[in-house]
């Protein structure tokens, strides 16, 4: 009996909950987090994050690692990956993939996700008060498999003029992501999980994914499980998005659905995203846009990146700081005259950030000079 209890306690230890233990890069009460500025609007938005953190005396130090998207070697991204392995947590902007370069130069973002095995991409789309949208009362959690599927980067030209791209679906990863989805749903008190697929066409691939979801669902009788074909899903999303609760899906459909949902709640500037693995976590904006056309013009919306940094603070168990910044952001959202161009206003990024900092200060928190 004691052997059994020992084994079951071992299982409990190795069986990780979605919200992981904070990483060990903590010294003297201060955490170290890897920061990857990326391209486009990434650097300026992350500077604002640092500004806000400095102002609110958040005990986080950033280790900045630059990744140059213009070179073909993978040294930069490997350095970044090593830094993340060391620190356990990262905040990043999107690294551009120049598809004028040779196809062997793979997407750096994808490389990061697969090397660190960040298998779950989690995005919470919520209608924000103060932002005008066509649909109201949206509250959808999207859990997207982040490492395989169509993003396996396995392509070859077997005959000249004919290219094959492989989409890989494995039982392990499908079970893993389904398990993550159900655990998260239970943890957040959600009632329903919907699997999005195209198993009527990709019978083996998506069929396997669906089967794995069903298997995991049987272990969660308190949560309703259903499935929907991806094209019907997008149609339902634009007509009645309120019907969705938690959605789980393979990589590419996740890309489409998360972008549709982000558009429904107000655009790419508002939604934060997180990539979780068993050991590491990387936070970024949900729709991963480089935003080259609006870079360095002080018009980008800092909300998504700031909310992502709040998610990171929650992950580091710095809950007070996270909620103080988050409340300040939501209060700022209510000021329509401060809205940036992407949500229909004419405000500048710096105005928004200053207002957020003023809100933080007004709550009586300890702040530094600004």
């Amino acid at each position: 009996f004691s052997v059994l209890s020992f084994l079951s306690s071992l299982l409990l230890i190795t069986y990780k909950m979605p919200l992981l233990q904070p990483p060990p890069a903590k010294y003297g009460g201060r955490h170290t987090v890897t920061l990857i500025p990326g391209d486009g609007i990434g650097p300026e938005l992350l500077n604002h994050v640092r500004e806000v953190f400095r102002f609110s005396c958040v005990p986080v130090d950033f280790e900045v690692v630059h990744v140059n998207s213009a070179v073909e070697t993978e040294d930069d991204i490997n350095n970044a990956i090593t830094a993340i392995r060391r620190n356990g947590v990262a905040l990043k902007g999107n690294i551009e993939t120049k598809h004028t370069m040779a196809p062997s130069v793979k997407s750096r973002n994808n490389l990061l996700r697969t090397s660190l095995d960040l298998y779950a991409n989690v995005m919470h789309c919520q209608s924000l008060p103060g932002v005008q949208t066509r649909h109201k009362n949206i509250d959808i959690m999207i859990i997207r498999e982040n490492t395989e599927g169509e993003y396996s980067s396995l392509e070859h030209e077997s005959v000249s003029g004919v290219v094959e791209s492989l989409k890989i679906i494995t039982r392990n990863n499908s079970l893993r992501i389904a398990d993550y989805a159900f655990k998260l749903a239970r943890e957040k008190g959600r009632r329903r999980v919907t699997a999005v697929h195209k198993a009527n066409i990709m019978k083996l691939g998506d069929g396997l994914f669906l089967q794995c979801c069903r298997e995991v669902a049987s272990g969660y009788p308190d949560i309703t499980f259903d499935s929907m074909i991806v094209d019907n899903t997008t149609m339902q999303l634009v007509s009645k998005p309120q019907q969705f609760d938690v959605m789980v899906m393979p990589n590419l459909y996740g890309n489409v659905v998360s972008n549709v949902c982000a558009g429904l709640v107000g655009g790419p500037g508002l939604v934060p995203g997180a990539n979780y693995g068993h050991v590491y976590a990387v936070f970024e904006t949900a729709t991963r846009n480089t935003g080259k056309s609006i870079a360095n013009r002080n018009i980008a919306n800092p909300t998504a990146m700031l909310l992502a940094s709040c998610m990171m603070l929650d992950h580091l168990k710095l809950y007070d700081h996270a909620s103080s910044i988050r409340n300040a952001i939501l209060n700022t959202m209510n000021e329509t005259r401060l809205h940036t161009a992407d949500i229909g206003g004419q405000g500048t990024t710096s105005e928004v950030v200053q207002t957020i900092m003023r809100f933080i200060q007004s709550k009586g928190q300890l702040t530094s000079e600004y």
């Binding site: 980067s153 094959e164 039982r171 990709m202 998506d206 997008t234 149609m235």
Partner: protein, 366 residues
Amino acid sequence: MAAGSAWRSMLSQVVGGAVRRPALSSFSRGMQTVTLIPGDGIGPEISSAVMKIFETAKAPIRWEERNVTAIKGPGGRWMIPPDAKESMDKSKIGLKGPLKTPIAAGHPSMNLLLRKTFDLYANVRPCISIEGYKTPYTDVNLVTIRENTEGEYSGIEHVIVDGVVQSIKLITEDASRRIAEYAFEYARNNQRNSVTAVHKANIMRMSDGLFLRKCREVAENYKDIKFTEMYLDTVCLNMVQDPTQFDVLVMPNLYGDILSDLCAGLIGGLGVTPSGNIGANGVAIFESVHGTAPDIAGLDLANPTALLLSAVMMLRHMGLHDYGNKIQTACFDTIRDKKVLTKDLGGNSKCSEFTADICRRIQDLD
């Protein structure tokens, strides 16, 4: 009003620019044969609704009904029944209702089989807001052109080892060039200003990269039409925020499937969206793209609008613009009037009542 006239001008052009219309003697004089495939579920009832409306409008169409089921031919390959194939080869024009596709089992999708049989390489779906049918999105006026033969729907899948499945996405130079050429020809023939290629070449470097390269090459020959390229996720993001910025979209199979349904959702769903499939040898099959709706099959509740609008697209393709306009006007008037709408359009009339109202309007128009 703007959307209405946009509909009229849009559908009044020949669908399928790249296809040279064959000698029209058989079209203009006498009855033209069209292969009708009623389909499953609500298919038969909406097909009879369309036939009734055409009869009232006195359109010179002779329907040849055929059923399409998957049968195993010699050599073990799945194929459609030979009489259906023969009928289509002769008439060249088809109208199809919804066909059932079983999930994750048995034979390949029937729709896929039809496409492969007739090499229907282009799926054209004009999505234009219908005045009188309100959705949160107004003034939508775009066309999705989707490559219909290869891509992710090649149907090639293997189990590598137990628990690992691989699906192959195939992109070829020829198919990409063909669809790009079709898209630009269509844009030119229908007075559209720009063509946008939708892709994910940042992740699928070689396959979507090839597709994109071909689109760029073809764009060189059509300098009068603006060519842009956009990532799939950016298109989705922008589409739900501001669909008016898009014009003609060309893309490989899977993205086309998702995006065309997304756009159909913007204008009111599959119950009101027409669709045409253009093939290589002058063959064109027009279809309603909604499902078979087995829950309302046989109950006289179905909405025949999608099949009817596809049939109107077909009439225009055949050069019978007057009949097409008449039927379309009657259909839109009925919807705008809101008195006899089927359940999915917000009313609670029967399919037969809706059909009868359209027939009445056609007779009044004469």
